[in-house]
């Protein structure tokens, strides 16, 4: 069984470091990407795929956002998020040269090193592609160490597809099988229509030698696991990234507690087998 990879917390985890916006990129109607660089006198933050940072918009608030950039180039810290509240709305207004505070990186990582020698299946839904992208970068940078690599990605509509250009490039330039599907098609859309889980029976991988990494709405991940089990992938080989109300990010405040787990500290990446029972408890 591959395990989610823990990572030592930063030395001063409650102190935000000043970062400066290098680029602000709209992705879709309600999602955007910020590329940040450490302000003068501060070090870039090395991170592992799957980890998150706490981003602080001064005077507005602080939110946990997964890192969506390439772990090989930590000098550019990349975050992609959706506008869901006051802080992320203020974050979308940031422009080149604006400053914000960053605490992190926090949490566990996708087990990409442990997956070497095996097929790797990425299953992403909606904004869930963002936390998986660093793992994709890492796997593609060492492509020869893996068997088949497959990305299944579901979005609400064609207009909601993230990282379009990159999806096209990955498909063209790497030995990576990419399948994109949308829940609701437009007239111009000529791709797959239907839920992302419906793609699982169609793609080639060896279920006995596959590590599956999935991120998206919890219901989607639950059905993904069911479909993977139907194909013969054991739940121990499936990893999920969970989202809860992370506040302190170091396992103290309890806001993100899920049973005995603190999602900020023990997650956000978990082996599915470890949290399966917890996800069935509605009260959690």
């Amino acid at each position: 069984m591959t395990a989610a990879v823990p990572h030592a917390p930063p030395a001063a985890p409650m102190t935000p470091h000043p970062f400066v916006v290098q680029r602000a990129l709209p992705e879709t109607d309600d999602t955007f990407t910020l590329e940040l660089a450490a302000d003068r006198g501060f070090e870039p933050l090395a991170f592992r795929p799957g980890q998150f940072n706490m981003l602080y918009v001064f005077g507005v608030g602080e939110v946990p956002i997964s890192i969506s950039g390439d772990p090989a180039t930590p000098q550019t810290l990349v975050h992609t998020t959706r506008v869901v509240g006051a802080t992320t709305r203020a974050m979308r207004q940031l422009k080149r040269g604006d400053q914000l505070g960053v605490r992190g990186p926090f949490g566990t990582a996708w087990p990409v090193e442990e997956a070497e020698g095996q097929d790797v299946l990425f299953v992403a839904g909606g904004i869930g592609l963002a936390p998986l992208r660093p793992a994709l970068y890492r796997v593609l940078s060492r492509r020869e160490r893996y068997g088949r690599v497959v990305l299944l990605y579901g979005a609400r509509t064609p207009d909601d597809i993230l990282f379009r250009r990159e999806l096209r490039n990955w498909r063209a330039d790497f030995d990576l099988e990419v399948h994109v599907t949308v829940d609701r098609a437009t007239r111009e859309w000529r791709g797959n229509v239907g839920v992302v889980t419906a793609l699982i029976p169609r793609v080639p991988f060896d279920p006995r030698n596959t590590v599956a990494l999935t991120c998206g709405p919890e219901v989607m991940m639950r059905f993904t696991v069911l479909e993977l089990q139907r194909r013969g992938v054991e739940p121990e080989h499936v990893h999920v990234s969970l989202e809860r109300n992370m506040k302190c990010a170091i396992g103290l405040c309890g806001h993100c507690q899920l049973g005995a787990e603190f999602v900020c500290r023990d997650g956000p990446v978990f082996p599915y087998a470890r949290v399966r029972r917890l996800l069935d408890v509605r009260e959690l």
Partner: protein
């Protein structure tokens, strides 16, 4: 039963027919023929008599419904390894949706009228087929329910 087009081995390779008894496979192959549709071709039209279903071997098919003012709306797509159509199985045997080839589609067409007769004559075959169709119907119902949840449109409240 004869297999006039020699399709039994192809059917045996398809996930839908995997594990069927050879005699059942041969019976089904007796109702089968190879078909191809160019990109854009209509494979079935909503409301038309459903006399066939298709085992998709290559390409993608858009399952559509026609909505006033919106035109044809794609509800789902089916691809190689999938089955298209179960209206042949249930009265009134009319297509509930349209089906259009998105690209070059190669498929095996199964004559539903022929198969219904054979299922009536051989209930073991009928039960076997019905079980397999029921599984597909259940999977698509489940997928449709997920689509209805509009998962990606919802986000938990955040600061």
């Amino acid at each position: 039963m004869t297999d006039p087009h020699g399709l039994a081995p192809l059917l045996a390779d398809h996930p839908f027919f995997r594990g069927l008894k050879p005699e059942h496979l041969a019976t089904i192959a007796g109702c089968a023929s190879n078909v191809r549709f160019d990109a854009g071709a209509m494979i079935a039209r909503e409301g038309d008599e459903a006399t066939q279903f298709y085992v998709i071997r290559h390409g993608t098919v858009a399952v559509e419904s026609f909505a006033p003012h919106a035109g044809p709306v794609t509800i789902q797509t089916v691809s190689a390894g999938d089955i298209l159509g179960w209206s042949w199985l249930l009265p009134p045997y009319n297509w509930q949706f349209s089906a259009r080839a998105q690209d070059l589609v190669r498929a095996i067409a199964l004559d539903g009228t022929c198969l219904r007769g054979k299922c009536e004559a051989d209930h073991d075959l009928g039960y076997e087929l019905l079980k397999r169709f029921a599984e597909i119907v259940a999977q698509r119902l489940s997928a449709t329910r997920l689509q209805l949840l509009d998962l990606y449109g919802q986000t938990p409240a955040r600061p």
